[in-house]
């Protein structure tokens, strides 16, 4: 499964944690693109789309075989080798292109797995309540508090030469807890809403209420949890490759950093060996974080960075606008408050 821009659009519009009664059908169509209209989300989605594209076509468009050695040893970036070469004359640009697939695959696979687990555990716990809830929340709290990365490192290192899929599974199974916790809290508050009570009173089945009444109102939270998990999964995968636990025969950006570190790229001044891979990770992380901000701001408009908040009034004062607070201008230099003249801007 890939997270294409369209899948997020379809997931988000017209609802969220604070779901409004749906607008007239005519307007619903126009609101479909509101999420994308958010500058942060749009930037993030475009960058993510580019990464997905490279994940698919990367191995085909790479100019060299990433493993092929050549006589150009430790060359700085040039027109022949855009990102320079390694100590064996391997082309780093090709390694980055080929590595994109593994990074995106692990990120998305682990993200999907963790999201499914978090929905299963979080929504069930929140909706059913009682003893199962206690047990499931204790379970997710335990997983939340135990440091995930050392656990992942240990599990992966015991499995010899872990493949991408296995790494994704390990990360997915250890990183669902945060999402489950948030989903449980939100389900608890949705469970007592009138429309859910009404559905229950009309005799709808539990699975139907959960699927059609509760879940649609959790989509924003699920989406943001998914994006957050993908960030974590990508970072973890790269970390595993960097410290040389997962299979070093396949390329991802962590493997590049592993070789760069192992071959003393720093001491040899070969900055091009580790800078591109790090930037690729950082930009991907930024893109995903931007999408998450977009979701947050979509759900809670207050968080948007306000536009122009300083307003110059007619008599030359400046006033700073603020939520829930009507600015009142009073003469500033007077020591004791006396009956003041109030000017509303």
């Amino acid at each position: 499964m890939t997270i294409s821009p369209s899948s997020i659009e379809q997931v988000i519009p017209g609802q969220g944690a604070m779901a409004q009664p749906s607008a007239a059908p005519g307007r619903a169509k126009r609101r479909r693109f509101r999420f994308v209209a958010n500058a942060k989300a749009a930037t993030g989605l475009v960058i993510l789309a580019v990464y997905c594209l490279f994940a698919i076509i990367g191995p085909w468009v790479a100019p060299y075989d990433p493993d092929a050695r050549s006589a150009d040893v430790l060359q700085a970036p040039s027109t022949r080798h855009w990102f320079g070469t390694t100590h064996l004359g391997q082309d780093i640009f090709s390694q980055i292109l080929v590595g994109a697939r593994s990074v995106m695959l692990v990120g998305l696979l682990a993200g999907v797995l963790a999201t499914i687990l978090s929905i299963l555990i979080g929504v069930t716990a929140g909706y059913i309540g009682g003893v199962p809830d206690e047990g499931l929340s204790a379970l997710s709290n335990v997983f939340l508090v135990i440091p995930a990365l050392p656990l992942i490192i240990i599990v992966t290192s015991i499995v010899e030469q872990a493949s991408d899929t296995l790494v994704a599974l390990i990360i997915g199974f250890t990183s669902w807890a945060w999402g489950a916790r948030v989903l449980r809290a939100q389900t608890l508050s949705l469970r007592r809403r009138d429309y859910v009570e009404a559905a229950r009173a009309t005799g709808e089945r539990t699975w139907r209420i959960i699927l059609f009444e509760i879940l649609p109102n959790l989509t924003a939270i699920i989406a943001s949890g998914f994006v957050g998990t993908v960030i974590f999964a990508v970072m973890s995968e790269i970390t595993l490759a960097f410290i040389g636990i997962s299979s070093i025969s396949s390329w991802n950006w962590g493997t590049i950093l592993f070789w760069a570190q192992g071959q003393q790229a720093l001491a040899q001044g070969a900055w091009w060996w580790f800078v591109p891979a790090g930037l690729a990770i950082a930009v991907l992380g930024t893109a995903l974080a931007l999408i998450n901000f977009g979701i947050d701001e979509f759900v809670s408009p207050r968080l948007r960075s306000a536009g122009k908040t300083r307003i110059r009034t007619a008599d030359g004062h400046t006033v700073r606008m603020r939520v829930g607070f009507t600015p009142v201008l009073a003469p500033v230099s007077r020591p004791i408050p006396v009956p003041r003249e109030e000017v509303t801007p």
Binding site: A138, V142, T239, L290, A306
Partner: protein
Amino acid sequence: MRFLLQRAAFYLFTAWAAITLNFFIPRLVPGDPVQSLISRNQGRISADAIESLRVLFGLDTHENIWQQYLDYWGQLLHGDLGLSFTFFPTPVATVIGDSLPWTVGLVGITTIISFLLGTALGVGAGWRRGSWVDGLLPATTFLSSIPYFWLGLVAIAVFTGPGSFFPSSGGYEAGLVPAFDGYFIPSAIKHSVLPAATILVSSMSGWILSMRNMMVTVSSEDYITVAHAKGLSERRVALSYAARNALLPNVSGFALSLGFIVGGTLLVEIVFSYPGLGYQLFQAVGYKDYPLMQGIFLIITISVLVANLLADVAYLLLDPRTRKS
């Protein structure tokens, strides 16, 4: 008090779960990584040590799993975590004891500074929403998306080198003996500046952002408007009314995300060859030193649990409502 007892009970439960997990992981894996290590070191390991490794890694196939579990606990309670293969024949407990202070010093102190500083900046950014500060938010996003260890690599490339003030690796100058004296302490501080700065730069932005968002949410509450209407100074409203209330979710968020943060910061130690738990874990991975890896995992988990408990105490002090009940 009841709140604290509940939390303590939960952490005990978590510690039990982590230890049990540690017990089962090597047993669930097909094949026997430890057996091969033992046979490779045959003749060099004493019979006692082999026995203790057998208990830790479940090589006692003739005992049932319940008996193995009891033995495992008995051994842990004696502080016996087996022998390290990397630092043969030093016991794991000794290796961990040597590196724990470094990690607590570096990661612990930096994480707290990062939280305090990030929260303070977040208060400013949230209160002045819409000013130029908002323009800096994307930059902090970028910084927090950089893997810690990569930032460390860049820092080494840029700031260290021949003739530079900053050393590129290690925790103190070679030739010094760890002691509280005028030679060792300055050297240790000098070696920790760059790793600490790396952790600060990449971990702080998360706190800035979450605190900003809480401030924005809180500052539209009625009691803030009332505080303004009372004519209280801007500073007082921002700090004693808005920030005080916005801080609570941030503190509980801090407690919950400690596990994530600690995992990330351990990597900085690897890059800087800083003699803490992270670097030991890295070496243990390289040598397939399972006893050391598992020991480090246990210690990290328990430290995080203790830190969580401390964060809960802080929460208790900050939120009068929890004290009343």
